[in-house]
Every structure is written in C-alpha cells, then in structure tokens.
Symmetry: C2
Subunit: 799 residues, 2 copies
C-alpha cells in the first residue's frame, strides 16, 4: 500500500550489502532450467544468485553499529521480504558426532535428560511467575502512590480552584515515568518495544529475530513495562509477560548467559535450536499463564502460534511450566495481599468472579452476541488500519530514538490531559457504596458521599477499570460516560500501540470492548421490555471485551480458553467462542490481525500453516535457488574461507558433494553442512594435514559446537594463514549425511508441507541421479502469498 523509507525498528542494524539483492532474477523458473555450473579447478564451488544473509556477526555488528552512528535509510515497501532474517534449525543435524553421542547414551541417560527437561520447565515457570509477581507488585505500589498524590492534589484544588495545577502535576508525573521507560527501550534495546508477541510468534515460527531472547532485553522489557503502566498509558502488562517468559526460557535452558558472561556448565545438551525452541514455547505459555491465570490457555497459545509438530510429551512439559507459573504468581501474590495460601485468585489480570446466577444466558441472546462479535470485528479492523498507517508514519518520520522518546512523552501527557478533561466535564455522579469497591474514588464536583463515575474508568490502572466495567452494579455508569470513554480510549490505545515503550494491547482492547459492551447492555435493557432482567451490563461488557480483543488480535481457540479461564466460569465458553469467531471472520474481511500487520511491516519471512491454495502449478524447480554453492567432501581450506567470506552471497548451508575420481560425471549429493559448523571447524583448525602431525590431540567434539552456539564468530575474526589455506578439510564427520531432499518436480505445497512439518532450514533439490540442482530455504517459500489478485510473489531485499 505504501512505498516508504524505513529504518527497521526490530533491530536497528542494517547490512553493509544493503542494495545487493537488487537486480537478481526473482523467478528463476522454467526459463532457465539449465544449470550454469561454474566448476572451479578441482573444487565444485557453484555461485548462487540469491541466498540468505548471514546473521552470525550479531555481537560484533551491534558494537560496530554504535560506532558508525545511525544507519542509513533504505527504501522500503511492505511487499518486500527481508533477507536479513535467518532461519532457526529445528531439524537436528544428524552428523556422525551427533549419532555417536546418541548411540553412546544409555537408556538411563535419556531418562536423566527427560528429567532435566522437566526441571528446566519447572524453573521457567517459577521464574516467569516471580517476574510477573514482581511487575505486579511494583506497578501496584507505584501507581498507588501516583494516584494518591494526584487525588490529594485534586481534592485540595477542587475547593480553592486552580485545577490546572493538578492537571499539570498529573501530566508531568505520567511523562516522567513514560520517559524513563521510553529511554531504556529506544536507546538500549529497541527490540523490547511493544508487546513482544509478534517477535515471539516469529521465533516460534522459526525466524531468528536478533537479540529477542537476551537477558538485556528482559531487563529493559520489565523496567519499560513498569514505567509505561505506571505512566498511565493506555497499555497492559500482559503481552510483555509472554515475551519475558520466552526470554527466561531461552536463558534458563542454556545454562549460561552471554550478557553476564557466565557459563554454569549445565544443560549443555540443550544448546541447539531444536531444544531451545521447545523451551521457548514453554516460556511463552508460562507467560500467558501468569498474565491471565490461564495455564491451558497458555499451552494453546504456544501451540496455536508455534508448534508445527505436536508432541505429547512436549505439550505436557509446556503445561507443567504454565501450571508452575500460575502457582508461583498466585502464591506470592496471596502473601502480598495478606491472604497466604489462598490460590483461587490467579493471574495478573483478573476478571473477577462472575457469579453463577448472573451468567446464565438465553437462546435469543445468541444473535445479539454474534452481532456484537461483528461490531468487534469492524472496530478491530478500524483499529488495525489506523495503527497500520500510524506505523508507516513512524517508520518514515519517527525513527530516531530521541524523537521516539518525545513521542512517548507526548502521548503520556495527552493521555493525562484527555483523562482529566473527561473527568472534569463529566457530571456522572454515583453514590459511594458502603463496601468501597473503588480504589481511588474522586469526588470532584459531586455531592458528598458520591464519586465521579468517569474517574473509575480513567483514574485507575486499566486492569481495575476492566474489572469495574464487568462487575459494578447496573447503573454505575451512564451511557454518555461509556460512549465518550470508548471513543477517547479507542484513539488513545491506537496511538499508543507501536510507541517505543514496552507495553501490550490486550488490556486496552478489553477495556474498549468492555466499555461499548456495557453500553450495549444498558441500551438493550432500556429498549426492550424484559431487558432489565436478562441484559446484565456486566455480561455484555464481557462479550464486548471478547469481541474487541478478537477483532484486534484475531486469535480464536487460545483466546477463548484464556477468556474462560480468566472469568473463572466455563458457562460463557460458548458465547465467547461464537463472538471470537464472528469478530475474526468480519475482521479478516478487511485487514489482518494486528500482530500479523506488524510482522509483515518488518518483512519477516513468516511461514503460514499451508502453502497458498492456488500454488499447485509451482514446483521445486521454480521455487528453488540455483545454482548452489557446493563443497567437496574433502575440500581445500582456502576455498572454504573464500566461500564463507563472500559477502555478496552469505549462504548459511552448503550441500556437500562427492565427485567420482577421474570421471566427468557431475557430483552427487552426500551431505549438508552449515556455515556455523564450518566456522567452528576453521577455528579449531581441523585440517587433514594437522590431524596427521598431532595425532594425540583430542578430537573435535559436539561440545565445541555447543560452546559456540548460538553466537558463532564471523569468518573475519578467524585467521587462516597462507599455508593453512593449502590444507584440506574432511567434512565427512561433521556434515549431516542424510539431508532431506526432494525431486525437481515436487509441487510447492508438497515442498512446503515437508519444510514446515519438520522445521527445516535448507531443503536440497536433486535430480533423478541424486545430483544437487537447487536449494529451498525459508525465503523461497515465504515469497509466495495469496493476495487480492491470486498468487503474488514478494520481492526479496537486504533490508
């Protein structure tokens, strides 16, 4: 839709080879079935037009980055597919070392491993719960102080006049908090911005998002989310919990931290993408579980967003982590709330208990619910479209950290001002109940013993506002209050999402939905004769909240379960499902879900569940990249160094071929080796000649590869002398001897299914003589998508 200049905000780094991808043929289809093999003397180094950019220099580049200042801006178009993102390896590299290790391991060894997986999951759950608890308590305390100060100030000035001073106090307090949050995010770790859910979705999908599961990111995220919630922005602290859980998982499971430069020498077996992904799934689930008190919802979230291959044992471990997480949070919160041991009140957001009597619904309400689902879908689509344009605007104009901080502060100040104005001009006074359900009742210009109803919505943390909308007695809000609140909060929330602060969109969505839902309930009660009996405003607030949230994020199964678990009552299961489905169908008609929009704007090569329906006419031949750079089974070191140093191609996987000595026949595939493996080999100088001279030296082990994981050094950092360049390297032991292959005639859906189901990174395309003719990677498959005019092909770019 828009062709704009952008700075990639998920990672503030750009590649040197920025404009390299241009001019390469994007459809190397049947026009060029003949392979232009360039056989170099003795070796078989085939050049390749386009292949993945390496992402191994992460550590280095980010340091360089700060030196070379702000990166240059690159033309950007959302129909692009970035070559910057690498794939994760969810397929075990079954080389001889790996098989030897597995074969050596006894049955007891596997049992111990399984037990340590459970232990890690338990730890993940425990730590995630603790973090959630910490965030909750700090936010509660700080927000309490802030609202008390402002309330005291307002009360002081209500009588003597000069409420503008209160307004300024409020706005300044908010801005200061938000400024702190925005500074850490914008200057120290831009990846910590937003809810983190799109990033975790990508990670679980198999895309490596740089720095997304680092300890530093976690620290910034936690600090940032506290600041932005206390700063009174229209945000929630739930989305970030999911990201936090994932970071905890990635950290704990590896038994070391690069940020802290500590290696605990434990869990070394888990130092590969396959295992790490499983733990990150568990972490994300634990995060959801802590955020909403929804362990089953957490498991479903992980599965819905991540898993392609469903494994029962894994699911149970994820479930266990979720369970421990809810339990930990509950336990510590119950102590904090001076009610130790009461575990029945879970989650960061708690919808409060819906009483059994008020939750019944009737058949004739179902169409009403569905209609509300449709409204939620429409409003959600509007929200997403507005946020889309806003994001484009931000990418174009607001990409400097200082500008981002200023925008965040502006939003904070405007939020305070709008809230204050709304409260000031509202004349919706309600009697103060005897049980003091309101935390910070503002009397303002109401009579004694009354409070301002608008203030319960605005002058409160969003979680409490949601609860008030669900549970306050019918009549607590008048329709005008709700209408105005919906309108203003809708635009505030829309403006807020995408700021350089850590914050989620769940709670604002729920709040908007609850407000207009309650409004619907009130209207129904007034226009129908029996409505006042069945049209409980709290019930309609819940349905509205589900509709709005569904319309914005477009999850169904997991969201249903999350909502049901958060309400603590399964009676609403059916209506919530119906509402979420309707809102998804209606919303999808206009625009994608919010997370998908943001993923697309980052040009991430995201693989959906299935290949586009009409892609059967494409075959591996058209899809694959070719020619492929291949290596010989015994290859010259110099050749390998040259291949790895070639910055214009930057491949990550190389088919290993074997040539029949003295024969003219083309080489046959015998394995696949990764750049990261080659780098470790070069670093340890595993050369044939050296092996002969120092026989006593220890053999290279799997441990050496694990120690280097996941941040392998760049090729530039490895010194290879001129003599060494003439040595040979035997790759036999290290290559994956049984890579998955497909024939050239395989249809795209079939290739896609194999690739997605097994979580591959490279898929070798061979001819009927088992000779390498091409390589399929994630970008080759993600390029094709179903647009409005049938199958479309995205452009590849280095951005």
């Amino acid at each position: 839709m828009a062709n704009i200049t952008k700075k990639v905000s998920w990672s503030s780094r750009t590649d040197e080879s920025g404009a390299a991808g241009e001019g390469t043929p994007l459809l190397n289809g049947s026009e060029q079935p003949k392979l232009s093999r360039q056989l170099s003397g003795g070796g078989s180094i085939f050049q390749i037009g386009r292949l993945s950019t390496v992402d191994l220099e992460e550590e280095i580049t980010s340091e360089e980055d700060s030196l070379r200042g702000r990166p240059k801006e690159i033309p950007h178009n959302e129909k692009l597919l970035s070559l910057k993102y690498e794939s994760l390896d969810y397929d075990n590299i079954e080389n001889q070392l790996f098989l030897e290790e597995e074969r050596r391991m006894s049955y007891m060894g596997f049992r111990c491993l399984e037990i340590s997986r459970w232990v890690v999951c338990g730890l993940i759950g425990f730590l995630t719960g603790l973090i959630a608890c910490m965030i909750d308590i700090v936010v509660e305390e700080l927000a309490g102080i802030k609202y008390q100060v402002v309330k005291w100030n307002i009360e002081k000035f209500t009588e003597v006049g000069g409420l503008s001073i209160s307004l300024i106090l409020w706005a300044v307090l908010n801005s200061v908090f938000v400024m702190m949050g925005a500074i850490v995010v914008a200057f120290f770790e831009p990846i910590a911005a937003g809810s983190g859910i799109p990033q975790i979705k990508c990670y679980l999908n198999g895309v490596k998002i740089p720095r997304v599961v680092r300890l530093k990111t976690l620290v910034v995220k936690v600090f940032g989310v506290i600041c932005s919630v206390v700063g009174g922005l229209a945000v929630g602290k739930e989305g970030p919990m999911i990201h936090s859980g994932a970071v905890v998982a990635a950290g704990v499971s590896q038994g070391r931290s690069t940020s802290l430069k500590r290696d605990f020498k434990i869990f070394e077996y888990f130092r590969r993408d396959t295992e790490k992904r499983d733990f990150v799934s568990a972490g994300a689930a634990a995060g959801v579980s802590a955020a909403f008190g929804a362990p089953v919802g957490g498991v479903l979230f992980s599965l819905e967003e991540g898993a392609s291959f469903w494994n029962q044992m894994l699911t149970w471990r994820i479930f266990f982590a979720s369970m421990i997480s809810t339990f930990t949070l509950n336990f510590f919160l119950s102590i904090y709330h001076n009610n130790p041991g009461d575990l029945s009140n879970p989650g960061l957001i708690n919808f409060g208990r819906f009483e059994t009597d008020s939750v019944t619904y009737n058949l004739y309400e179902i169409p009403l619910f569905i209609a509300m689902g449709a409204i939620g879908g429409l409003l959600g689509a509007l929200f997403n479209v507005l946020n889309y344009w806003l994001t484009i605007f931000r990418i174009r104009y607001v990409h400097r950290p200082c500008l981002q901080v200023m925008e965040a502060m502006l939003v904070a100040a405007v939020t305070a001002t709008v809230s204050f104005t709304m409260i000031y001009f509202s004349n919706d006074c309600q009697p103060l109940g005897p049980e003091h359900t309101e935390e910070y009742p503002l009397q303002l210009f109401c009579a004694d013993g009354e409070y301002n109803s608008m203030a319960t919505a605005f002058f409160n943390t969003p979680e409490r506002s949601v609860r008030s909308l669900f549970h306050n007695q019918p009549g607590s809000y008048n329709p005008l209050t709700l209408g105005l609140f919906t309108l203003t909060y809708f635009f505030l929330a829309c403006w807020t999402y995408g700021l350089a602060v850590s914050a989620g969109v769940f709670i604002p969505s729920l709040l908007i939905g609850a407000a207009w839902g309650r409004l619907c309930g009130i209207l129904l009660a007034s226009i129908t004769s029996t409505g006042s009996i069945w049209a409980d405003p709290g019930k309609y607030a819940l349905i509205g909240a589900a509709a709005q949230l569904g319309g914005i994020v477009r999850m169904t199964l997991s969201l249903t379960v999350i909502m049901v678990e958060a309400t603590g009552n399964v009676t609403y299961g059916l209506p919530i499902m119906l509402v979420l489905m309707t809102s998804k169908i209606v919303g999808d008609y206009f625009v994608e879900g919010l997370y998908d929009i943001h993923i697309k704007l980052q040009s991430v090569p995201f693989l959906h569940w299935e290949a586009p329906a009409t892609s059967h006419w494409l075959t591996a031949r058209e899809v694959m990249s070719s020619p492929v750079t291949c290596l010989n089974r015994i290859e010259k070191v110099g050749t390998i160094v040259d291949v790895l140093s070639n910055t214009s191609t930057n491949h990550n996987g190389f088919p290993v071929v074997v040539q029949v000595a003295g024969s003219d026949e083309p080489a046959k595939l015998c394995g696949l080796i990764l750049r990261s493996q080659l780098i470790v080999l070069l670093k340890h100088k595993v050369f044939v000649e050296l092996a002969r001279s120092r026989l006593t030296q220890r053999k290279l082990q799997l441990k050496d590869f694990r120690d280097a994981y996941p941040r392998f050094p760049p090729i530039q950092s490895i010194h290879v002398s001129q003599d060494e360049r003439e040595c040979m390297m035997d790759l036999t032991e290290f290559m994956n001897a049984t890579p998955y292959t497909v024939p050239m005639e395989t249809s795209l859906p079939r290739v896609f299914k194999l690739f997605r189901a097994l979580g591959l990174r490279h898929l070798v395309v061979v001819d009927d003589e088992n000779r390498v003719v091409g390589l399929v990677t994630r970008k080759d498959l993600a390029r094709y998508h179903l647009g409005k005019h049938g199958l479309e092909e995205l452009q590849l770019a280095q951005t």
Copy 2:
C-alpha cells in the same frame, strides 16, 4: 507375559495366509546388505520377504466369513505385531491427475471447498449432538421406568416380606436389557464392543481398523449403549459418544453410505484418507464435547490422540464442530427438560455446579491432592492389570458370540444381586431432604422420612450417583457405605470393561474415584481439628474422581480440560492437573493405560510420538523391507495382475522404476503407485493398446478413483483375459511422481520423524544413485519399542 491362543476380537476375520509370516528374517540388518534382486525377463519384479497384508477385500471377506463359519484360532502373543492392519494414506497422492485438478481449480473453488469443510463440520456437530441427545433421553426414560418398577416392587415386599422376588425382578430386568445389547454387538458388529476409544485412537494414528467407521457400527453402538446403561451395568455412555461422533463424521464427509447403498454425489473431493481423517478428528471432538459439555476438551482430545501435524484452520473447524455439538445437545435437552433456551447446563454427564464458596482450596491441601493422585495411580494400575488378565482370559475362552452374550448377562445379574445385597444390608439411613434431591429414594428398612444412603449410589444411573457424591451435604454418606461401595464397584467395573457390550469406562472410573475421594474427605474432616471447615467431602470426591480416571486412562491435558469444563469452574484447574499428572506418573510405573493395553493386545502397529530413545543405532538399512517388488513405468498387464494376485506377499505400494533402454544399469526410482490405484486401472482397462484403438473414449479421471474409495474391489474380482495380459499399462499419469525418499544411512529416529510428521504409508529407501533398495512401512517402525530391557523388537504375524 502370556502366550495364548486368541481370536482377534476387533474384527472376527482371519487371513487365509495365517502362518505365512513365520520363518522370515526379522532383522534384515547389516548381515544382508547385498540385495538379492530377482530380475524377471524384461520386467523388474522383485520379490519381497515380508510386507503388509492387503485389506482391500473387506466386503467380500466378511461375507465369506459367515459362510466358512468360525475362524480357526491362531497362536497369539502380545509381543506380536499384526500384519492384518493396514495404514491409512495421510499423504496426498500427488499424481498428474491430482495436480491437474488442483491447478484447474480457481481461487474461488478453494474458497468453496473451505466453506463446504465448515458446513460438513457443522453437520457433524449437529448430528453428533442429536445422537447424544437421543441416547440421553431414551436412557433416562427407560431407566426411569425400570427403577420405578423395581422401587414399587421393593416397597411392596418390604412390608410383607419376600424381597427375593424383587431381587429376581431386578436381576431379570437388567439381564434382558443387557442381553439385547450384547446380542447385537456379538452377532452383528463385534467392533462396536467397548468404548471405541482405542479404535478411534488407532484410526487417528493412521491404522485402518476394518468397519470401525461404518453406519452399521453406529447403529449397533447406539442401541448397545442404551441397553447396557439401562441394564444397570457399571458403564457409562460417554466413551461410545466419541466413537459415534467419529462414525458420523466419516459418513457425512463422504456424502454417501455403503450400508444404505446411497451416493448423494456431494463432497466427492473429500473421498480420500487425508480429508476423511480430519473430519474424523472433528467427529471425535464433537463426541467428547457432547459427552462432557467440553468443547475445548474435545479439541484437545482429538489433538492429543490424533493430530501429528497441527494446522490452525483444521483446529478451528474441529472447535466449531465441538461447539455446535454441545449447543445442539443443550438446546434439545433444554426443551426435553421443559426449560427451553437455557443453554448453561451442557453435556451428557454434568458434574453439577460447584459453588464458588466451597471450591476454594488452601496451599496445605496440595500435598493431600498429590497423595490422592498417587492413590489413584495405584488403583488405576491395579484396575488395568486385572482387566489385562481378564481380557487375556476372554480372548482365550470367551470368544464365541453366544458365550459373550451369556457372560454379559451373568455380569448384569451379578451387578443387580450385589447392588441389592449391599442396599439390603446397609443401615445407613439419611433424612429425606425437603427438596427431594434423590430421584429414586429407597426407604427400605429406614424410618419414615429417611432413605437408604447406599441406594443413592447403587439404585441410580451412574451419572446421577457421581453427582450425588459430588454435591450431597456432608454427612449424607457414612464411611462404611463409601468403602463398601468403592470395593464392590471397583471389581464390577473391572469385570464389565471388555464385555461384548457397547460401554465406556469414564463414568465407572469417576464413580469409584468419587466414592473413595469422598471417603478421604470424611476421614480428613474427622482426624484433623480444623478439617471440618476445609475438608469439604464434595471437593475431595472430585479430586478422587480425577485421580481414579487419570490412573486408568492416563490422559492429562485433555482430561484436565474436560474435568474443568464439566465442573463449570476453573478454580480446580490447578489441583486437577497436579492430580492427573501424579496419577499418570505413578500408574505408568506399573502398567500402561487401559486403552493402550487393549491396543497392544490387538497387536495394532501403533506409532507413538517419537522413536524409542535408544534407537539411534538403527538405520533405514536395518529397518526397511527388502527386496522390494517394483514395477516399470510401462508395465505388462500380466505382470501387474500376477503381482497383485500374489497372496503370499500382498503388498500395497509399489515403487515405479525406469530402466535406461539397452543399458545394464539398475533402474532408478521415478514414482510410487498403490495397489488400489492399480486395481482401478485394471478395472477400467487403461491399457496402452486400447487407448490407441478407442481414442474417443473418455480419459480416466480422479473421480473414478474416488468412486472406488475406500473399498476397492479385490484383484480376484477383476477379469483379465489372456489377450489383455499381453497389453501394456502406462503408469506415468497415475503414480505419485515425487514420493518421499531417504538414504540408507538415515537413522531410525529421523525416518520415524518424517514418517510420523507427514503421515506416510510407504517411504522409499534409495541409494546414492536414486535406486530403490527398500521400503519402510508402518510395521517396520512400530516393531521397535522400549521394553524393560532396552530396545525390543516385536514379531510380525499374520494374525
């Protein structure tokens, strides 16, 4: 453990080639890497030692069966793997016909298909809900009449003496109902016996269980389950609902019925295993959903038992079917209960509403719950071991239908007698509450205004008994009553499961668990000082029920959700999870789950989630079957007929190879063709010579294959004349040109992962020149399992 003579009870058919599998080498490992290819003149028909028995003659054989009388008995050992069971084809056969059709289809075509998938799922849900509703109402009415008659009789004879007449009346009534149920099952459709869950598990796993999704099976199942529940057996009607849902799904999605001989000419696209499996998943989920009012639990059940490849759209459809099913059941039941439109009371079994006040639990109760989980695991293991021995006994001695009917009648009479005796000798009298919560209160020898407490447990449908145990006031049962009830019901339920009646084990398990759980609660209340405050017997009954059920069936995630949904309150989520996990861990230490035991006793080649942990030393070379019978791309009709008619091998898939003309080189793989496809080709006489002579004749289409699905005629029914035998057949268009292949060195876990993730039926093993060296099928992978002494290999047999 036992080496016994058996008749396979899941399908009363045996193969002619009964003893064929004997003497074949079972580990064709590295001792025989050389392939003994037997090249027949011109063709390349390789003979094969052992491969799958065909299951295409189903229709015919079952007719023959009744003619040739009872099948002979075959030595049986549970360490066998039956060759009788065929695999389903979950991998699309991408031949030219299929690709042409897919390529012709427009985007709108795919949309319509997607919509019709939703329509089918809606229909599945609706019909499953209707069936559940019908079963519920009929059982309710018939059981009501039965209990009223007996109650009236007992009341009459209590005063005048002669209660033995009442006992006889009760026992006879029960036996008559059970006899009817057992007769239809034993004589008409043995596959309808039991809960059907093991069979559906196998189906979803990819094993073709003959006649499991037929309309006839459904009718017998529904009639049978009504009879057995009304007959007062210790059974539930929930398990059979899952089977019923699956049958409905398989029927509706195919748009025709073989039993009714009707073809509605709709949903023809869905006539293949891939699509059918998806619908059967939805049907099973709808069944769970109707049985327990647990739509999310249903989805999770389907996924936990079935899906290997998680697909978001599919999950949503399954969810939709579940939702509709609960909704339908609810709606019609609400009308039946004269409360139309009240949808808040779902499911066949309803645990009743747990009030919020009584459901809170404290931290110090968690260890108690875990201890109860352990007890549940132990009792569950005991149940399973007893039932295992009983099943072995039945396989050996009680395999004639008349014996089976007599055993069922005996159980029914004993159940009635035991119940009567227990009630008679019980002196646990309770005051009759004013609200008459008991449906059939038996006064017996109690004072006026009191009722016999033992009778609420025994003189009632099991569903009502469970509800009483959960919800009756503390003090409604005395400990002795509960103890005796647990003891007797445990053995009755154990004896009952496996009878030739349609019945489930869910409700009896819940009932046993609820009884001892309530007992625990009462004991806790009496031995601790504050126990009477927190130890609510209803709460402990629920925990006990979960523990017992978990200990018997060993599901965790789906069962947790089912229990939570059935209680209508998520507060118990955490304790239920803990309890189910504990009971699974404890139970698994002793013996497998009940369903797995029954699957194993049937020697089904069931594939678990992962290859055994210590199987890395096995490679495709050791696992595969070889040599393989291959066909040429253009093959003589006579050769094909001979290959298909060879009853000693009975292969189902044949690699298609191409030979370079005039060259000595071995043939290269170019495709894979199935027996079923060859049979359709032969039937339509698609011979090269004929094609030339009648050019105008229509080409063979995908429709012809679909019309023959799933019951392809046997080769014997196809007449091929001597002239035609000399014709040639061109397989190019019909074979799957891009079958998945692996090299010989691939490790077993890798082969397993590919096979399981993609739902394959045949996986071709090739050498580095792309020549066929072997074929891996389901049995080759299912053979290896982790026994007590490491990796064990099951024997293959034709039984």
